[in-house]
């Protein structure tokens, strides 16, 4: 597997119509490491994430300034092939969103888009992806069952497998455990730690302990601005900014 790319966001501002969602965000994620984005609801965490794979394109009247380098390409540049970009930058959503197909067809959805039709190759990709997502042991022999019959935690790992099957270099996760019970959450967190090194990851989370457990870097956003970012250990033990400290100690109004 090739080396995952580093991510460098520089002075990124985003507007939804007249409303400003992000102001001058600058962030770095070294190759193969995990960045956690924390902050209150509506602070712009998801917008940062959705800028990186250009899902913000779907919002009407969206505008942006600045750059976001994934490896050597500025994903916000005008000439970027959005479809190719999304194959490099995978995404996992807050609500598990398996398609109404079988487990196999869910994972094979991406590879089939690439034109992989050969049954044996498809099967291998599906198996590898399910193994990487730590779901293989639970669904082996049940690949033809409908994916929506799986439990919530299994569905979310299936969605991770589905994202991994297109062989991305970057993985974006938008509150991946917000809809899950503690046990499933623990499994997903373990999975993130395992995938570290092979993928550069950005994880949005509301759960501060989770951010502390899984990430190398943490960035705290408030009202569309980056308040503070740094190594996770530093942010959680010796935050420089009072607002960060208030937030992580729960004195946030």
């Amino acid at each position: 597997m090739s080396q995952p790319p580093a991510i460098r966001v520089a002075d990124l501002s985003v507007w939804y119509g007249a409303q400003r969602a992000l102001t001058g965000i600058t962030l770095d994620v070294p190759a193969g490491q995990v960045l956690a984005l924390i902050g209150a609801s509506g602070c712009g965490k998801s917008t940062v994430l959705r800028a990186l794979n250009r899902m913000i394109d779907r919002v009407p009247n969206v505008r942006w300034q600045g750059s976001a380098m994934v490896g050597d390409t500025d994903v916000l540049g005008p000439a970027v092939d959005v479809v190719a970009l999304r194959r490099r930058v995978g995404m996992v959503f807050q609500q598990p969103n398996p398609f109404p197909f079988s487990v196999f067809d869910n994972v094979a959805y991406g590879p089939r888009l690439h034109g992989i039709k050969h049954p044996a190759r498809l099967r291998k990709t599906v198996e590898d992806s399910l193994k990487q997502a730590a779901l293989w042991d639970e669904v082996r022999g049940k690949l033809r069952r409908p994916a929506r019959a799986l439990s919530g935690g299994q569905q979310q790992r299936l969605c991770i497998a589905r994202a991994l099957a297109v062989k991305p270099q970057v993985l974006l996760m938008d509150e991946p455990t917000a809809a899950l019970d503690p046990l499933s959450t623990a499994k997903i967190e373990e999975l993130v730690r395992e995938l570290k090194g092979r993928y550069t990851m950005v994880v949005v989370t509301h759960n501060l302990q989770q951010a502390a457990r899984i990430s190398d870097w943490t960035a705290f956003l408030e009202a569309g601005r980056l308040i503070e970012s740094g190594q996770t250990g530093t942010i959680f033990t010796t935050p420089r900014d009072a607002r960060t400290e208030n937030y992580i100690t729960g004195r946030y109004e």
Partner: protein, 276 residues
């Protein structure tokens, strides 16, 4: 949207545009042929069999009276069936069968109802081919539509609303009247509007029950050609020299009525929804 992989969507846009043009052309030809004949004399005059310059006043009156009478009967009856099925309904074989046949009768052809009504009412009971006979045929034809659309409207009300009301110690009837009905009213009104539009446009069920001619004096036992039947009759069998134009002008009046009715019922539904 992405720049790439939009071929199908573009083709759909093109096809949809062409389809829109076809409907526009249809409307345009209706207006082209019918507009010159539209006048107060046309709206207020009597039809003429053999000469040009006839009007459609009796047809307008017949359409209104038959649709309103049929509506007066099936709106409450259709709602009653819907309430019985949705609020009090048990799930046993005969209620399931009733629901199934409701859906079958939803698409019963008007001519089939006409065939049966003609035999039962006209041939066996000796009723004249008249406004009353036509009204019964209209009511029978559209009762299932009202019952099903009202049932859908009631079923759309969340169960939690009923439980909340019943938990306060009200009877089921009070629950329905004060909790369910206001919530369902907008879609009920929409459904009734569609039912009335269907009835205004109905013709197959009426040809043999209400007839293809009019009487100068309105009465329940008088023949009751409606606008839709009139359009069909003069366009297929009319002998007047301006038959095409007359038919088109009748079509414009008919279409105007349908659109006005749908518009009004949609506005009413919207107003009810906002007020609620």
């Amino acid at each position: 949207m992405n720049r790439r992989g939009l071929t199908l969507h573009r083709a759909a846009l093109g096809l949809a545009g062409v389809t829109g043009l076809v409907y526009a052309a249809m409307l345009a030809s209706l207006l082209r042929d019918g507009w010159p004949l539209l006048s107060w004399r046309f709206l207020l005059g009597l039809p003429r069999e053999l000469e040009a310059g006839g009007g459609v006043a009796p047809e307008i009156l017949n359409t209104f009276s038959m649709v309103m009478m049929a509506m007066a009967v099936i709106a409450p009856l259709g709602l009653a069936v819907a309430v019985q099925r949705v609020e009090y309904g048990r799930d046993v074989w005969w209620t399931r069968e009733l629901d199934r046949w409701s859906r079958v009768f939803l698409s019963v052809p008007g001519i089939v109802v006409g065939l049966v009504a003609y035999r039962v009412l006209v041939a066996e009971l000796g009723w004249p081919v008249s406004i009353l006979t036509g009204t019964v045929a209209l009511a029978v034809l559209n009762w299932p539509f009202v019952a099903v659309s009202a049932g859908d409207a009631l079923a759309g009300v969340p169960e939690s609303l009923r439980e909340g009301s019943l938990a306060l110690g009200t009877t089921r009837w009070q629950t329905w009247l004060f909790a369910v009905l206001p919530e369902a009213l907008p879609s009920l009104v929409n459904g009734l509007g569609l039912a009335a539009a269907r009835m205004i446009g109905e013709s197959a069920a009426l040809i043999f029950t209400a007839g293809v001619n009019v009487s100068p004096h309105w009465g329940l036992a008088a023949p009751g050609e409606t606008l839709a039947v009139h359009l069909w009759y003069i366009r297929t069998e009319g002998l007047m020299p301006d038959a095409t134009g007359q038919a088109a002008a009748t079509g414009i009046v008919l279409l105007g009525l349908v659109i006005a009715l749908l518009w009004a019922s949609q506005r009413l539904a919207l107003w009810l929804e906002r007020r609620h």
